[in-house]
C-alpha cells in the first residue's frame, strides 16, 4: 500500500523518476516532502530570517534544474544537504553585503541586526551556534540537529570522516562553552 511506502527510499527514487519525467504533481510532492528539511537546515546554518525564504526557493530551483543530472549513486538527501550548504553560504554572504550596502546606500538593502525567530530554546540554540566557526557549525548542525551519520556528513562536505570527527569534537567544546557563558542564556 502506498500509504505506508511514501517515506521509504524506494518511493523516494520513484518520486525522483517521476519528477524527471515531468510530472507537475511529482514536483509538488517533492517540494512537500523536503521543504521542511531544507528550511530547517538553512535556518540552523545561520541564514537570517529575511533571507530564509529566498534561500529556500533557490535550493528548490537548483533541485528542479539539476535533478535530471543527479546520478543516484549518492542519496538524494545528501545531495539536497549539499545544495542547502552552498545556498546557506550564499545567503549569509548576501546578508552581509546587504547590511554593508544598507549602511552606505539606504535604498539598497535592509541591513541591520535581525531578530532570531522561533521559541526560547531555538533562540538560545541559535545564539550558541553563532559562536561556532562556519566549518564547525556545519558539522555540528548536520550531526547533532539533522541526525546525519559521520559518513553522510563526509559526503556532504567532501572531506574525510576523520576531519568531520575532529570538527565535531571542537564544535561540541565551543558549543558547550558558549552555553555556559552568561551571554548565551
Amino acid at each position: 500500500m502506498l500509504a505506508s511506502a511514501t517515506g521509504s527510499l524506494e518511493s523516494s527514487h520513484e518520486l525522483l523518476d517521476l519528477c524527471v519525467a515531468g510530472s507537475p504533481a511529482a514536483w509538488r510532492g517533492l517540494h512537500r516532502r523536503y521543504h521542511g528539511t531544507a528550511l530547517s537546515v538553512l535556518r540552523r546554518l545561520g541564514v537570517p530570517p529575511s533571507q530564509l525564504e529566498d534561500a529556500c526557493q533557490d535550493v528548490f530551483v537548483d533541485v528542479f534544474h539539476y535533478l535530471p543530472r543527479f546520478r543516484r549513486e549518492a542519496d538524494f538527501r545528501t545531495w539536497l544537504y549539499r545544495i542547502c550548504v552552498s545556498r546557506a553560504r550564499t545567503a549569509r554572504r548576501r546578508a552581509k553585503l546587504a547590511a554593508m550596502l544598507g549602511t552606505l546606500l539606504p535604498f539598497a538593502g535592509s541591513g541591520g541586526n535581525e531578530t532570531i525567530e522561533g521559541g526560547q530554546a531555538s533562540r538560545q540554540l541559535a545564539r550558541a551556534l553563532d559562536r561556532l566557526s562556519e566549518a564547525e557549525r556545519l558539522v555540528f548542525v548536520l550531526f547533532e540537529l539533522e541526525g546525519l551519520s559521520g559518513k553522510e556528513i563526509a559526503d556532504v562536505i567532501e572531506r574525510p570522516q576523520a576531519t568531520v570527527f575532529r570538527r565535531l569534537h571542537d564544535a561540541r567544546q565551543h558549543f558547550r562553552a558558549a552555553l555556559e557563558e552568561g551571554s548565551v542564556t
Binding site: L2, A3, L15, V20, P24, R82, G119, Q161
Partner: protein
C-alpha cells in the same frame, strides 16, 4: 597515520544533561518561517526568474567601472587579427553536460522551474507514460492528457497517486469539468488516504465543492481539514472560506466566529471585510 574511519560518539541530544535538554526542546519547537504552501505558491509564481536583489546596484557599479577601465586602457593603434591569431575553438568536452561526472551541483545559473528535458537515468514504463501525459497537457490536448493520466492511475504505485491528482487538476482547471474532477478527487481520497498529496487533494476538493454550491459538504470538509495538516498550513484561508460559506447560508453568528478565527491565523482584515459588512448589515441571525 590510521586510515580507519573514526567511531562517532552518540548525539548530544541522547545524553541526560542541560545541553541535551536544550537541543531536545529546540528540536521539538514548532518551526518558524514560511509554510510549505506559501513557499510553493511563491515558487510557482516566480518560475524561472531569479530575483536580482542587491546584485543590481553592485553589478551596475562594476559595469560602469569596467567600462571606464576598458575605455582608459584601450590600445592606441587599431589591431587587425589574422586567421592565425584567432583563438582555436575550444574542444568539445568528452561528456555532454547531462552526464557530468560529479553529482555536486554546479554554480547555478538562471534555472527553469521544471526542465524535465534531460533523459531520466533509469526510465521505466510509468515514467515514459508520465512524460507523454505531461507533454499532452503542455500542448493543450487536455482530453488526451486526462485519459493518459487516467491509464497510469490504475495501479497502486506513487505514479498512480500522482497521475490521479494530475487528472483531477486537468479536469477542474483546464476543462472546467468540476463534477468529474470531484469524482476523481473522491477516488483519490479513498484509494490513497495517506498519500503524498493528501493536503492538495483536500484543498482542491473543498474549492470544487464550494464552486458547485454544495455548501454543507464543503463545510464538513473544511471542519475535517482544520483538524489536520492542511489546517495547520492553511488555517486562515480555510476559515475565510468557511466564513464565506456560512454567510452565504445566512448563518452570520458562525460566519463572524470564522472571521475571528481567520484573523487569529494572520489573515488580513481586508479579506474578511465584505463578510463582516454583510453580516453586520443584515444583523446576526
Amino acid at each position: 597515520m590510521s586510515t580507519e574511519d573514526p567511531t562517532f560518539p552518540p548525539p548530544l541530544a541522547s545524553a541526560d544533561d542541560a545541553t541535551a535538554l536544550l537541543i531536545q526542546r529546540a528540536l521539538n519547537e514548532p518551526p518558524s518561517g514560511p509554510s510549505e504552501e506559501q513557499s510553493w505558491a511563491r515558487l510557482e509564481a516566480r518560475g524561472t526568474k531569479r530575483p536580482l536583489r542587491v546584485w543590481v546596484p553592485v553589478g551596475a557599479v562594476l559595469a560602469v567601472a569596467a567600462g571606464f577601465w576598458l575605455w582608459w586602457a584601450r590600445p592606441n593603434d587599431d589591431v587587425v587579427l589574422t586567421a592565425e591569431q584567432l583563438p582555436q575553438r575550444v574542444a568539445e568536452p568528452e561528456h555532454p553536460a547531462s552526464s557530468r561526472p560529479s553529482d555536486a551541483p554546479v554554480v547555478p545559473s538562471a534555472a527553469p522551474l521544471a526542465p524535465a528535458k534531460a533523459p531520466a537515468p533509469r526510465s521505466t514504463a510509468s515514467e515514459d507514460d508520465t512524460a507523454r501525459c505531461a507533454k499532452l497537457a503542455q500542448s493543450g490536448h487536455y482530453d488526451d492528457a486526462a485519459s493518459c493520466y487516467g491509464s497510469i492511475a490504475r495501479g497502486n504505485s506513487m505514479a498512480a497517486e500522482l497521475a490521479l491528482y494530475e487528472k483531477a487538476r486537468i479536469l477542474a482547471k483546464a476543462q472546467g469539468k468540476s463534477q468529474e474532477a470531484l469524482a476523481t478527487l473522491n477516488e483519490h481520497t479513498q484509494r490513497f488516504p495517506s498519500g503524498l498529496l493528501g493536503s492538495e487533494v483536500a484543498l482542491t476538493r473543498i474549492e470544487l465543492l464550494s464552486q458547485l454550491g454544495r455548501r454543507d459538504e464543503a463545510l464538513r470538509a473544511i471542519d475535517q481539514a482544520l483538524g489536520g495538516t492542511l489546517g495547520r498550513e492553511r488555517g486562515g484561508d480555510l476559515q475565510v472560506l468557511r466564513a464565506e460559506l456560512l454567510a452565504a447560508q445566512g448563518d452570520c453568528a458562525h460566519a463572524l466566529d470564522a472571521v475571528a478565527a481567520a484573523k487569529t491565523h494572520g489573515v488580513h482584515p481586508s479579506r474578511v471585510e465584505a463578510i463582516e459588512r454583510r453580516c453586520s448589515g443584515s444583523g446576526e441571525q
